[in-house]
């Protein structure tokens, strides 16, 4: 049902339940806000979005007040603006003046707001509490002094991700963001980085490793290789003024080369290898009943961490296959090194990822050093790479398009769609159906498992058998899927699914915790579209048809799940304590 109202005298008609904030936007009125995030329910914490409604003495919060029939709303008048200014001043009075050295400088919602309000002096004393950093994970750095208690990260961590690593402690003036454990490392944090992606300020930022990366590049004795993840290519442009979803693979290769990397690889190649291994694993379980079904994907390290902490009893269902960038890392220091006659001890591999959890994954266990050396040395986020490109003085927009380096670079369309939720499953199905039927089937698109619905289910007919699959993204969505599996298991029933894909971040890696700020569902969709468009354009759309992958198996690994591939490309899991104590 539609409701009608007037905002600053302009008539609006919006569906019932529309908040004043959104209704105003529909008539080109921008109400300032600080705590509301389009992904999240309103926390109503900042008090900046207040507006007047005729007949009501208080001011109401536009972010969480639904429009009612006949409302007369004023969004800007001298009194409202004065109140907003005072609230901004109050927030500033409890905030450190550290923009110059802040991870969010020039990209901070608070800073922008202050700039827009044109506040030149604050009449109130600066009363920043002295609180220590949380930086023991070396993945994320939390600076509680910069926190404006908007509540976004708590909602993300507790409700969107169901991890409950972050919480508010104490109350009133002393309210502070904290890890539920003594340190972040002792908390159940799975390092997905969604908190940092949603934080409006520099209170939660990724652990910066750009300096370390420059050191490798500059060291002439080292051979430094780099790889980019699928979803980086369609997001990095946002840092250079491109619309979300613009595919900039060629410019990225060029930029990396100019930055001084010795070899430019593509994680999409690793994704194709993952599919061969994982797809074969699936067939072993599905056809040869080698182990229990469902098989669950494991290329998202935050999900791996989550499962080890909260669903230790599901370990046997996990694919043992490593994530694509780890595969590229280990192959670079073995296969590639051998081919090129490089000393792996003198090699460094840098991953450019949409992801903060990969910073943790590279040290996750001994199998992350299957080459005899740490397989991936540094994992940077898309945001870090964007900063490095700027530091290197590269005019990104005008770069020519280049190619990546061969051997670990060629990829199929299946490899590229890995970056969107459902992509891993779709890629696996493309390969599995061919392997099961022994034919090269025409059907490559599985649209039922695309898109942003929290849990997607599909049944796929392959070689006369039905494969039941589920795709979940956003960790809170995983629960219902796993519960169904566990229930069936307890009852001794047939498993509800044969194959499950899980990605920790909503939207999959296109919405990763290390991607450029300001993600919304529209942005996630645009980035995913960028990937699907590339897939459509590519001649090779199935992982097992990637000629470089074929060569890899012919020359080095023999076949999927061979002894060698087990040694290099697979890993093991162990149940962990939720809280270290």
């Amino acid at each position: 049902m539609a409701v009608h109202a007037h905002i600053n005298g302009i008539p609006v008609e919006v569906p019932e339940g529309t908040m004043i904030l959104d209704a105003a936007r529909s008539v080109q009125i921008d109400i300032p806000r600080l705590c509301k995030h389009p992904d999240l329910d309103p926390t109503a914490a900042c008090g900046i979005c207040i507006v007047k409604v005729e007949g009501i003495n208080r001011m109401l919060r536009a972010c969480c007040t639904p429009i009612e029939e006949g409302m007369k709303i004023v969004t800007h008048d001298p009194e409202i603006v004065e109140v907003r200014r005072t609230v901004v001043e109050l927030i500033m009075s409890k905030h450190p003046n550290e923009c110059l050295t802040c991870g969010r400088n020039q990209n901070c919602e608070l800073q922008t707001l202050v700039a827009e309000f044109g506040i030149r002096t604050v009449a109130l004393p600066n009363i920043v509490p002295d609180l220590p950093l949380y930086d023991d994970t070396e993945v994320l750095t939390i600076d509680p002094r910069k926190c404006i208690t908007c509540g976004r990260c708590v909602m993300v961590c507790q409700e969107m991700q169901n991890v409950h690593a972050l919480c508010f402690l104490d109350r009133g003036y002393g309210t502070r963001i904290a890890a539920a454990g003594v340190t972040l490392g002792e908390s159940p944090c799975v390092k997905c980085g969604q908190c940092s992606a949603h934080c409006p300020t520099g209170a939660i930022v990724e652990f910066d490793e750009t300096g370390k990366t420059w050191d490798y590049i500059k060291d002439p004795s080292l051979f430094t290789a780099v790889q980019i993840a699928p979803s980086v290519r369609v997001a990095i442009g946002e840092a250079f003024g491109y619309p979300p979803g613009t595919n900039l693979t060629g410019k990225l290769y060029a930029a990396l080369r100019r930055m001084g990397f010795d070899a430019i690889f593509d994680t999409n190649f690793g994704a194709d290898v993952t599919i061969l291994e994982e797809g074969t694993e699936f067939i072993q379980r599905f056809v040869h009943k080698s182990a229990e079904l469902p098989l669950i994907t494991s290329c998202c390290p935050a999900w791996v961490d989550f499962m080890e902490k909260f669903y230790g009893d599901m370990i046997d269902h996990f694919s043992t296959c490593k994530s694509p960038h780890e595969i590229v890392g280990v192959l670079a220091k073995t296969y590639y090194a051998k081919k090129q006659g490089l000393d792996p001890a003198k090699m460094r591999v840098v991953s450019i990822m949409p992801c903060t959890a990969k910073k943790w994954e590279i040290h996750r266990s001994a199998s992350m050093a299957a080459s005899g050396y740490q397989d991936v040395d540094v994992s940077l986020t898309t945001r870090e790479l964007a900063r490095m490109i700027k530091q290197a003085g590269i005019d990104f927009r005008h770069l020519p398009e280049e190619e990546c380096d061969r051997v670990l670079g060629d990829y199929s369309g299946a490899g590229t769609i890995f970056g969107a939720t459902g992509g891993v499953m779709e890629a696996a199905l493309r390969t599995a159906q061919d392997l099961l039927t022994g034919k090269a089937l025409k059907k490559v698109e599985f649209k039922a498992i695309r898109g942003l619905k929290g849990v997607k289910e599909a049944e796929v007919e392959v070689a006369g058998k039905t494969v039941r699959v589920a795709v979940a993204h956003g960790l809170a969505n995983v629960e219902s899927v796993l519960e169904r599996v566990q229930e069936a298991k307890e009852k001794g029933d047939e498993p509800p699914y044969h194959f499950i894909e899980v990605m920790a971040c909503p939207g999959g890696c296109v919405g990763g915790g290390g991607q450029p700020y300001g993600v919304t569902n529209e942005v996630r969709e645009a980035r995913a579209r960028g990937l699907y468009t590339e897939d459509e354009r590519l001649a090779v759309r199935k992982s097992h048809e990637n000629p470089e992958v074929k060569r890899l198996y012919d020359e080095f690994l023999e076949k999927p799940l061979s002894h060698k591939s087990h040694e290099l490309l697979h890993t093991r899991y162990q149940a962990r304590l939720t809280y270290s104590r």
Partner: protein
Amino acid sequence: MPDAVMVPDISRTVQKWRNKRGSLIMALHEIQNRYGYVPRNVSLQIAQLMDVPLARIYEVVTFYNYFKLEPPGRNNLSVCLGTACYLKGAPELLNELKSRLGVSEGETTPDGEFHLQSVRCVGCCGLAPVVVANGETLSKVQPSSIEGLIHRCHKEE
């Protein structure tokens, strides 16, 4: 997650509440009453037994004044700082206690003997100012009677 070693009577306390809605704070009250504070290992056990995240327990325990994370003193003295008591001289009582015990509000004496805190009204405003000594409400307390009060607590050990 692997099981922690359970203290049996904690699990009994929690058992009573675990299937009732809205019972986390009730369970924490029982723990606080038993130990005088909410010990960390107990929090971890409640988390496991009641299937609530540890974050929730700490959020709650640090939000509400009633719950403490540190063990209390053997004697607990609370000075009411509600309006009626404030007007009738509670600040002087608090100062007297502070100087006699050598601690600030919210602190415990180094020997663990006395914990001093303030409360905001215990509902005896008509008989202000009020001090609650080990659960017993004392009315119309004068600064001159503080010394005797401390002495009495000592003796009652």
